[in-house]
Amino acid sequence: MPDVLPSEGSAGGPVLEIDAVTVRFGGITALDGVSMAIHPGEIVGLLGPNGAGKTTLFNAVSGFIKPEAGRVLLHGAEIQRLFPYERVAAGLGRTFQHVRLFRGLTVEENLLAAQHRHLSASPLAAMLRLRSWRRDEDEAHELVERMLDTVNLRPWRERYPWELSYGTLRFLELAAVLSLRPNVLLLDEPATGIQQKEVEALGPMLRRIRDDTGCAIFLIEHDMGLLMGTSERIYALDFGRVIAEGTPKDVSADSQVLESYLGRTRREEAAGA
């Protein structure tokens, strides 16, 4: 993906730091003092059984829920008090577990909407067709043209999201979030609901995105092949706490992880066999 601008490197330290983040829903502690660090250009996996707090962590980092305690730092600056759209401006991009996008807009218009932060023309400039609006639109269309090629969505440009297969929709969402040119990309189960062939293509694609843009990728995924094969480092989460951290090999051998997640799968497999 040579078209996407490289992220600005940060001097040495982690690009994303999660520091003792605690989230409670009523009496339930969803995240209990979770601390993690993602370094520039790293692909990090997040592992854990359902209800472990993985998506809650993404929501806390991207600003969709307010943590009760703790800090979130992007490039060393605290962002936990910012609105989601302000965190995007700071360099954070995320996808959702259930993709819907904007159903009233075509694929092309969805991607145009995602160029928001790169544009500047005022509503009045658009209403009066001033030159600043024309410049804005030319730039937005050019960026979208390149993005359509990058993710091979050109054949669907006039289609609406609800006309697409779930896999294509996933790629559209990925294209939209890449349009933000993030430094850190949070991907919430990108392989869910897409065909095995597309899942297999996803790993190399994520690595290519990282190589071309330099952005760090933080990945929640239940597809073990994809997670283990793509991640360079993995955090394992259970009951809102980090129970293990390390290379895929180390984490998959960790006894606590085996017990809480992989072990369960193996026991189920054994029971099924």
Partner: protein, 383 residues
């Protein structure tokens, strides 16, 4: 781009007439299709003028101006509800504020009408901001109920405050003049309001394909995703409300110029709520996501009122008729008249031999329905 002549075509094709060729080179946007469309629209626009010339009155030009003004009001609904996704049941309250503000400026402070128009637009802003603040917390039906309550509250207070409204009769104003131009005549005022309405439609249409417009549409469709893509949802809603409010304000000023006095417009409760609901209903029937839909909605609304006024005995059924039309559109053509026109235009382009008779048939059915209503309405009144 079938049926269009681009500058390249004009140069390449020798059979194009030299005059047309020179025009096409000079104005590349001036395609044959656009020229034909503009010609047809101007011809339709001149129908009321021709009818009035024959019958020696200005009635149909007055109705034409009425449609133009209501198109401005419908534009407000298009921006706030169609683009912004905010279900506001108080569009006519915004109109009222524009109407009274313009009346105050012209008849009490002695401002020229042309200054009163932007003042009327600006006067709606406090209400827009108040609704915007509510829309941060309230969604969908809850916002609709909140706006309805707010409208009633304003109808009982602000619109009963004599200093603002001018009391029972209201602040009356004369039709505007501009230097040597006098817009008090039937044709002049019709042409003025229609020109303003078309300019506003053009402006609102442009908004849709812009940074701000797409932000509104994105927030309307999926607020969470919009925020994740860097869009400030609150700002997008507020922008829709301020622009929509300003359009209603401008419309209100011209509505006052049309009527001469705000009294007949009925801005007090419950009339204001009825008019607000009418605006929303006919915006949907016209095509709430489209600036052109605003015009079609206004056209249909004013036409049906005229038809039913001609059919006195059936007048009580006007609400039933509107509800029926709304339901039929919501089920079969949720995009409103705009969708109907688009589908028919595509069919004509694909196969003119079939599409044109179909279009004529559609118009004929409508004319027949109108005839039926008038026929039975007036016959019933005679017996």
């Amino acid at each position: 781009m079938r049926g269009t002549i681009t500058a390249e075509d004009a140069i390449a094709e020798p059979e194009v007439r030299p005059a047309a060729r020179r025009l096409a080179v000079r104005f590349p946007g001036l395609t044959r299709r656009r020229v034909i469309t503009a010609g047809v629209l101007i011809a339709i626009g001149l129908i009321p003028v021709a009818v009035d010339a024959v019958s020696k009155s200005t009635f149909w030009q007055y109705i034409g101006a009425y449609i133009a003004v209501w198109a401005m009001l419908e534009l407000s609904v298009v921006v706030i509800t169609g683009y912004g996704g905010l279900i506001s049941l108080m569009p006519f309250t915004f109109v009222g504020i524009g109407c009274f503000a313009a009346g105050l400026a012209v008849s009490v402070w002695g401002w020229p009408f042309w200054l009163a128009v932007p003042f009327a637009a600006a006067a709606t802003m406090p209400i827009s901001i108040a609704v915007g603040a509510a829309s941060v917390r309230l969604k969908g039906l809850y916002l609709a109920i909140a706006t309805l309550t707010f409208a009633s509250a304003l109808g009982e207070t602000l619109f009963k405050w004599d200093a603002f409204t001018g009391g029972q009769a209201g602040h009356t104003i004369a039709r505007p003049t501009l230097g040597p131009l006098d817009f008090s005549g039937g044709f002049a005022f019709y042409a003025l309001t229609m020109a303003v309405a078309l300019i506003l439609i053009w402006m609102v249409h442009g908004l849709k394909s812009s940074r701000a417009g797409r932000a509104m549409l994105a927030v309307r469709d999926n607020e969470r995703e919009a925020q994740a893509l860097g869009i400030n949802a609150t700002k997008a809603k507020l922008t829709a409300l301020v622009i929509g409010g300003a359009l209603a304000g401008v419309g209100g000023a011209f509505y006052l110029a049309l009527l001469g006095s705000p009294a007949p417009a009925g801005f007090q409760s419950p009339y204001v709520d009825v008019s607000s609901v009418l605006l929303v209903v006919w915006a949907v029937i016209g095509g709430i996501e489209s600036a052109f839909g605003a015009f079609l909605g206004a056209f249909a609304l004013i036409s049906q009122q005229q038809v039913f006024q001609g059919a006195e005995k059936l007048f009580v059924f006007i609400g039933v008729y509107a509800a029926l039309v709304l339901v039929v559109f919501l089920i079969f053509r949720p995009g409103g008249f705009v969708q109907v026109v688009k589908i028919q235009a595509d069919r004509i382009r694909a196969n003119p031999a079939r599409g044109i008779p179909e279009a004529v048939g559609l118009v004929a059915i409508n004319v027949f329905v109108i005839w039926l209503i008038i026929h039975f309405g007036t016959v019933a009144s005679k017996t």
